[in-house]
C-alpha cells in the first residue's frame, strides 16, 4: 500500500477516535451537570425574584469574544426562538459559572428550569429546532410538576 493510502487510513482512524472521545466527553460533562442540584445562579447572575419565580424555562448561553460560531450560527438560532429569556454569559470572564456547567467548548447552551435545575446541555452549536424541542419538553415538565 502506498504512503498516501496509509496516511489516509491513519487520519481516518484519528478522526473517528477524536469524534468518539468528543462524544464521550460531552456525555460525561452533560451527566455531571444534569446530575447536580439546582445551581446557585443568583450568586453569579443579576436576577430578580420575579424572574426566578417565573415558570418559563430559560437558556443560559455561554459564549466568548473569540467564538465565531456563536456570532455566525448560535446568535441567529437563539434570536429565532422568539420570546425566550436568554442569559448570555462570557465563559472566560465568568469562569466559576462555566466550570459549574463543565463548559469546555463554545458555544454551550443550557436549558434551565425556573428553579435553577439544568434540564438540557448542548456543547457546541445547537440549532433553533433542537432548542425549541428542549424548551417545549422543559415546559411540559414544569406543567407536570405544577399539577
Amino acid at each position: 500500500m502506498s504512503a498516501q493510502l496509509w496516511a489516509l487510513a491513519v487520519v481516518g482512524i484519528m478522526v473517528l477516535a477524536a469524534a468518539g472521545l468528543e462524544a464521550l466527553r460531552a456525555r460525561r460533562a452533560r451527566r455531571r451537570v444534569l446530575g447536580s442540584g439546582p445551581s446557585d445562579l443568583a450568586r453569579h447572575l443579576p436576577m430578580n425574584r420575579e424572574e426566578l419565580r417565573a415558570r418559563d424555562p430559560y437558556i443560559l448561553y455561554f459564549t466568548g469574544e473569540g467564538c465565531t460560531v456563536c456570532r455566525t450560527h448560535q446568535d441567529p438560532a437563539l434570536a429565532r426562538l422568539g420570546d425566550v429569556r436568554v442569559d448570555k454569559v462570557d465563559a472566560v470572564a465568568e469562569r466559576g459559572l462555566a466550570d459549574r456547567f463543565h463548559v469546555y467548548m463554545l458555544p454551550t447552551t443550557v436549558v434551565m428550569a425556573a428553579d435553577g435545575h439544568a434540564l438540557h446541555v448542548n456543547y457546541g452549536y445547537a440549532p433553533a429546532p433542537k432548542l425549541e424541542r428542549q424548551l417545549a419538553e422543559a415546559r411540559r415538565t414544569a406543567l407536570t410538576a405544577t399539577a
Binding site: A3, W6, A7, M14, E65, G66, V69, Y125
Partner: protein, 166 residues
C-alpha cells in the same frame, strides 16, 4: 485573523480587524485562507503519488501559514483575497464582529503542524502525509461547518489563564 493596521489605528483593508471596540473580521478572507490550505495539501497529497517533488508544497505552506501568523502582510491567501478577489468582486466580503486572535492562533497551529509534517516527509512519509492531511481536514471542517478546533484550544488556554484575554 490579525490584520495589519495603519499607524493611526485604521484597518488597511475595510472589513479587516482593527484596534477599535467592535472589531470586525472579514470571514471571506478566512474562508479563502482555509480553501487555500485544503487545496494546497490535497494537490501535494494526491500529486505526490505521481510526482513526488510536489511534496515541497507542504513545507512551503507551513512557511506561508507561519509567516501569515506573525506578519499578516505576508499571508499569501488572505492577500490574494484582499488584493485580487475582493477588489474584482469575485468574492464578496463578509464582515463579522469577531476577534482575530483565535483565528490567528488556529492558523499558527496549522503552520506548526505542517512544519512538523515537513520534517517527517522524507524519513517517515506516512506520518508527514497524515499530519498534513489532518491540517487539511480541520481546515475543511472550519470551512464547511464553521467549527474551528484551534479557536476552541485558544478558548481553553484563555480560560485556564495560559493566554491572557485581550
Amino acid at each position: 485573523m490579525s490584520t495589519p493596521t495603519s499607524d493611526k489605528g485604521f484597518p488597511r483593508n475595510p472589513g479587516e480587524a482593527s484596534d477599535f471596540v467592535g472589531i470586525v473580521v472579514d470571514h471571506s478572507a478566512l474562508k479563502i485562507n482555509q480553501t487555500g490550505i485544503v487545496a494546497t495539501v490535497l494537490v501535494a497529497f494526491a500529486g505526490s503519488a505521481l510526482y513526488q517533488p510536489l511534496l515541497v508544497l507542504i513545507p512551503l505552506l507551513a512557511i506561508v501559514l507561519l509567516l501569515g501568523t506573525f506578519a499578516p502582510r505576508l499571508a499569501l491567501f488572505k492577500q490574494l483575497y484582499f488584493k485580487v478577489l475582493k477588489p474584482r468582486g469575485i468574492v464578496k466580503p463578509r464582515p463579522v464582529q469577531d476577534r482575530p486572535e483565535p483565528h490567528n492562533f488556529a492558523q499558527g497551529l496549522g503552520g506548526v503542524f505542517l512544519a512538523v509534517a515537513s520534517i517527517f516527509l522524507i524519513p517517515l512519509p506516512v506520518i508527514g502525509l497524515a499530519l498534513s492531511l489532518l491540517v487539511a481536514v480541520l481546515a475543511f471542517v472550519n470551512l464547511a461547518f464553521g467549527y474551528c478546533l484551534g479557536c476552541q484550544i485558544f478558548f481553553q488556554l484563555e480560560r485556564r489563564g495560559v493566554l491572557k484575554p485581550s
